[in-house]
Amino acid sequence: MQQRFMALWFCYLKTDWIAIRKPELIDIPFVFSQPDHNCVMVTAANNIAQQGGVIPGMRLADAKAILPSLEVLQDKPAREEKLLKAIAEWCIRYTPVVALNLPDGLLLNITGCTHLWGSEAGYVTDIINRFNNKGYVVKAAIADTIGAAWALSRYTENYCIVEPKQQRAALCNLPPAALRLDAITIEKLDKLGFLNIESVLKIPLKELRRRFGGDLILRILQALGEVEEYLKLIKEPDPYEERLHTPELYKTRTGIDIAVQELLKKICERLIAEGNGVRAAILSTYRTDGKIQHLKIGTNKATHDVAHLFKLFELHLNEIKPGMGIELFVLQIPKIDKVDIKQQAIWKGKINIDDNGIIELLDKVAGKIGMQSIYRYLPQENYWPERAIKNSQNIKDIKQTPWRTDLKRPVNLFKRPQPIQVSAPIPDYAPMLFRYKGEVHHVKRSDGPERIEREWWLDEGEHRDYYIVEDQNGYRYWIFRSGHYDKATPEWYLHGHFA
């Protein structure tokens, strides 16, 4: 398919940006300046200043001599990149393929996008009008190649559309600087009298390479479309993405509900056909005033059930503020998984972990409270009590080893052992009594000790000697002594309750 590209050029990117925020600057000449080595340079100048003869790259002192009324603002490094990135993200409503062209432009692959605006002319005027309304002066060009679009956007009055395969003719009258060359090459070409690209194209490429190097050849071939050029996108387009673009703005909750359902229906149709399901989804809403809002959901198990996915979004839809209205909904599925297709009729009635009701409930919990609140434990071959279990990441995980019953473990286990005071006969008996939170427990019955060593390859420290003890009330506890008895005051801890 014939590719079509659009180059956007922001003639006064930084100064327009600040003038939008500070309207008092619109009618006066001003520049951005930044110290470079030991002199201050002009990094950007607004329209009025440039008419007065101030151009970016000048020394600030020279600029002030030319225009004494010049207003000077401090510049920040990499500001244009940040600005362009934000603008590029906004441009995603026009095409998903947007790339930055530092320092002052954007490159868009608009193949197959323009018909939504009627024609290429409609598309480009819509973009230019939008930017002009905001306060940015932009120029745009559409051509078959990135190079041609770039060149024409810099040397056009307002906008320019090059018909397919006409880029050579369109480029002929432009100066060689339009080929995106470095300053030295441009100067050389200028000195040699190459006043337009046509005159360069007449020279055999071999000669040009010898004199100017490979870069010029590459740029010429790219502009003519004989060498493919690729864009470095600001965002990789998601393979699972649905867009809902409407001329009518969505303002009500009902409208948003319908839009989300529409998008889910579309994407689920595709997923069903492929046998895949959603594990995570992101809904982005683009507001007409430029604000973008995102909603994220995750599922515990791949699903392509529209009703269920909608329910997950529904929990959060209140967070979307439609403001003046939403003009674009984008649904992305960053994570998919294979769906197990089951004969549900057979399984129904029998309780099973694959029960969809359970999975849906867990999704709801994960959506409202968070995935980190859900635990399901599987045994782990470790004696150390805290490590004898592991949280299973997937709800469908099956235990690899059986649960042990030969060693008694308490129903309650404190996250952190609680220190207790004991009086104990030495060396290897359970304490006679212990004190915990000011309460004295006389030990009537006891079992133990069960020594549990630390796994030295995991952590360092004392081993534990565990005792099961029962006090005068019949309460059963799990207590341990940390380490051997050879210390002056051995440390005892309460670690849990038995049933």
Binding site: I358, Y377, V411, H497
Partner: protein, 244 residues
């Protein structure tokens, strides 16, 4: 005539019970392993499933006993294959210990929440979900309207809800079907052997809707509840029954 009246009244009582959701005893009625004496105090002599049970405790030790007892109930409720969900705020329960009570700890899903509001929300949603064999919630207090909501949630799904209340200072009326209290008792080993024996509890039914309150002593022994007098001859009698 008196006989006929009695029959009519019996029949009416049965009808009312049926309308309140109590099923008459039948072949597929759920039996709790070893808990026949307690079941006899419920209407129709059946442990009511698909309803909300409430357990109260005031100390950590009592709550632990309660968790053990609940695990014993789950053993029968899940029939060894169903999933259960355990919702709590500051969870201390240690999953591997539950294996002793006959349930696979991986049959349980634990939800830890930070807010009481979320706790009730998760519980209600879980109770509406037919896939669960039982839903266990640990909560400080349960107001009447909250308990009513939970009871309404299970009416469709027929899931059994077990609510463990960890603060018994405010005991208010609730819409639960039964109020239990489990306290740990000193264990015994046969022949006066030293060491800690099987878990032993005093099981009290403080309130039973349409049934009889009562108190018993049980031990968890050999994978089921065992009335204490059976384990030790007759030195502990069942006369600890009292009106709640």
């Amino acid at each position: 005539m008196a006989q006929i009246n009695k029959n009519v009244i019996e029949q009416l009582k049965k009808d009312i019970l049926l309308k309140q959701g109590y099923k008459p005893a039948s072949a597929d009625t759920l039996k709790i392993n070893g808990l026949q004496q307690v079941e006899a105090n419920f209407p129709n002599g059946v442990f009511p499933t698909g309803m909300i049970h409430e357990f109260i405790s005031n100390r950590d030790e009592h709550a632990s006993a309660c968790r053990g007892f609940i695990s014993g109930l789950l053993n029968s409720l899940t029939g060894n294959k169903g999933m259960c969900i355990w919702v709590s705020m500051q969870r201390t329960i240690y999953a591997p210990a539950l294996k002793e009570f006959g349930i696979e700890p991986d049959q349980l899903i634990f939800i830890d929440v930070a807010k009481e509001k979320d706790l009730l929300w998760v519980t209600e949603e879980a109770l509406k979900c037919e896939g669960f064999a039982a839903v266990i919630t640990e909560i400080k207090e349960l107001s009447f309207s909250q308990s009513l909501r939970l009871q309404l949630a299970v009416e469709q799904s027929k899931v059994t809800g077990l609510v463990l209340r960890t603060d018994d200072t405010k005991i208010n009326p609730t819409a639960t079907v039964a109020r239990w209290q489990i306290t740990p008792l000193p264990s015994h080993l046969q022949g006066g052997l030293p060491g800690v024996g099987f878990p032993r509890w005093k099981v009290e039914l403080l309130k039973v809707r349409n049934g009889q309150p009562g108190a018993w002593e049980f031990e968890w022994h050999g994978g089921k509840f065992l009335p204490v007098y059976e384990t030790e001859g007759s030195n502990i009698n069942t006369s600890v029954k009292k009106a709640g």
